[in-house]
């Protein structure tokens, strides 16, 4: 246990000072603001006359941008770009260690490999929790500004709804981060792992779902893919009408999505530890 705590402290120190991590987190926050608030507000403010017009009527658009809607909207970007960015973070965290030769250095310092990797996973979980809390706070702040600007209610969302959304966010982003960690360990390098991970998140899963639409038996598999589970959990939090964000799905119910995501997190984490423990470090 002491080795895990020591490893977590070490990883937090080096992650905290890693510019790439801050760039990825900043990109996530900016993209979230752009897609959840900026585009919707422009559409709302121009009365739906822009090419970006949503099928949602203006009152629904405005309701989505108010503080009370934050639990529903702030997970919407997690299934697509949010997941992709966190997968990149996980893949870089592990994969770069092979490129720089730092795993070799770390594994000769004393901690068992399982403890060192558990420390890395816990440090990344800390980052994910910090990111979800930050995004929620930023979204609440922006939504409050919109509410004041539009003379609407600035009342905060119900605590239980907010907590449920925060937990869902941690689960979705945690799953994608763990997936990146596994791909990074498999590829033993940053470039290949990021490339493979992005191909899966942005292309392969969508293609498979397309195939499943015309070839029913394939849906047995596609309905339980990581992206399906993440998208379904994000979708289960939303009760607005209109088009959903890309990646947000209504295939699985919330409970099944949570169980599936938890299973994927455990499988990816254990798979990484198993893989790194049994392989030579050259």
């Amino acid at each position: 246990m002491n080795a895990v705590i020591a490893s977590t402290r070490a990883e937090l120190l080096r992650l905290r000072k890693w510019p790439s991590m801050w760039v990825l987190l900043a990109a996530w926050i900016v993209l979230n603001l752009v897609f959840v608030y900026l585009f919707n507000y422009i559409t709302f403010a121009t009365g739906g006359t822009t090419d970006m017009a949503s099928s949602a009527p203006p009152d629904v658009l405005l309701a989505q941008m108010l503080p009370s809607a934050v639990p529903q909207v702030f997970t919407q970007g997690m299934a697509m770009f949010g997941g992709a960015l966190m997968l990149i973070l996980g893949a870089l965290t592990i994969g770069s260690g092979y490129g720089w030769g730092t795993w070799k250095t770390v594994f000769t310092q004393g901690p068992p490999r399982s403890a060192a990797l558990t420390g890395t996973l816990l440090a990344l979980l800390t980052v994910v929790i910090g990111l979800v809390l930050t995004v929620a706070a930023v979204d609440l702040g922006v939504a409050s500004v919109v509410a004041v600007a539009e003379s609407e209610s600035a009342s905060l969302p119900a605590a239980d709804a907010m907590l449920k959304a925060l937990a869902s966010g941690v689960l979705i982003l945690g799953m994608w981060t763990a997936a990146g960690v596994l791909v990074g360990a498999l590829a033993r390098g940053p470039a290949l792992s990021v490339g493979l991970g992005l191909m899966w998140v942005l292309v392969v899963e969508n293609l498979l779902r397309g195939v499943a639409a015309v070839l029913d038996p394939v849906s047995v598999v596609t309905d339980f893919l990581p992206g399906t589970a993440a998208g379904s959990l994000a979708g289960s939090l939303r009760d607005f009408g209109g088009d959903t964000t890309p990646g947000v799905l209504n295939i699985l119910d919330g409970g099944t999505s949570v169980l599936l995501l938890a299973g994927y997190v455990a499988a990816f984490a254990l798979g990484t530890v198993w893989l790194v423990r049994r392989r030579d470090v050259n």
Partner: protein
């Protein structure tokens, strides 16, 4: 007899059909500086990787302090620099050592002491990626020194260092040995190894072909004599010292005797009316021995090498 703190028994690593390390049995004793020599690709680094738990052996065994490599208790007593330093390029030298200190469960000021020891304190705040090759190497040694380990495993620690840096590193290793550390040193710098190592192991094509003290490997010193007439000098010296110790090499004679006999040899030759042009102490360098051993293996002469093994 001093106990071995590093002991390998028929340690072997195969990659498919290729045998990188073939049944290596070596012993590093407490408090000694052990030189591990071999040409590029001989299996030195693979052996060291097995000793540090980075690579699993295919067969055979290794123990450090009586335990398996990779064991946490072993790692806490061992400082390692294997095949160049591996650090986070975006962190400063100091922060890199702080990260490693945390992994070793040491206070952060351990990093400061290690930086000071290798002369990097002034540049400790600079990012690792801005370091010269020599500075990176010194930071690698600093990392190996974290926590004052009992055993240092250093793979080519002078790589990239300028002559002054090499001299400093040599002094540092000697100082560490004098302060009770044991050092397992892999190096291409044979003169350096000859100077600072107590014992050496020579590996070639994965096999340990010699293991002994530096003095034993270099063999006895002898005397070289250039005298005129040479034949008469050989006869006089054979009568004095015995036929089996006098040998003719080119235009000179070599005498397999202690150099302490030089005055007596000179006196006998002069008394016999022989002109003595040169009388010198002759000794083989470790480099001579190394090339002899490794060229023997290349030529497939394993029999003669087996005879050189010393337990």
């Amino acid at each position: 007899m001093t106990s071995g703190i590093v002991v390998t028994d028929k340690l072997t690593k195969r990659y498919g059909e290729h045998t990188a390390v073939d049944a290596v049995s070596l012993t590093v004793r407490a408090g000694e500086v052990y030189g591990f020599l071999g040409p590029n690709g001989a299996g030195k680094t693979t052996t060291l990787r097995m000793l540090t738990g980075l690579v699993r052996p295919t067969s055979g065994s290794a123990t450090l302090f009586g335990r398996s490599p990779g064991n946490s208790a072993v790692a806490a007593r061992t400082g390692v620099l294997i095949e160049g330093p591996g650090f986070f390029p975006y962190l400063s030298g100091r922060d890199n050592l702080r990260v490693l200190s945390r992994y070793r469960r040491l206070p952060d000021d351990a990093a400061e002491a290690a930086l000071h020891r290798v002369g990097l304190r002034e540049r400790g705040h600079d990012r690792f990626r801005t370091y010269s090759l020599g500075m990176k190497q010194r930071l690698g040694v600093a990392a190996a020194l974290l926590g004052e380990p009992d055993l240092l495993i250093l793979d080519e620690p002078t790589n990239g260092l300028d002559p002054a840096g090499m001299a400093e590193m040599r002094e540092l290793i000697v100082e560490l040995a004098h302060s009770g550390h044991s050092v397992l040193l892999s190096s291409h710098m044979l003169s350096e190894v000859q100077e600072i190592c107590d014992r050496v192991g020579v590996i070639s094509r994965g096999e340990l072909i010699a293991q002994s003290t530096v003095a034993e490997l270099r063999g006895d010193t002898s005397l070289l004599v250039r005298a005129d007439p040479r034949e008469r000098a050989a006869a006089v010296l054979a009568e004095l010292l015995g036929h089996d110790v006098v040998d003719t090499v080119g235009d000179a004679l070599t005498l397999a005797v202690s150099p302490d006999l030089a005055p007596k040899v000179a006196r006998v030759l002069v008394d016999a009316g022989i002109d003595v042009h040169e009388l010198a102490r002759r000794e083989r360098s470790l480099e001579d021995v190394f090339f002899d051993l490794t060229s023997d293996v290349t030529a497939g002469d394993h029999t003669s090498n087996d005879a050189r093994r010393v337990s």
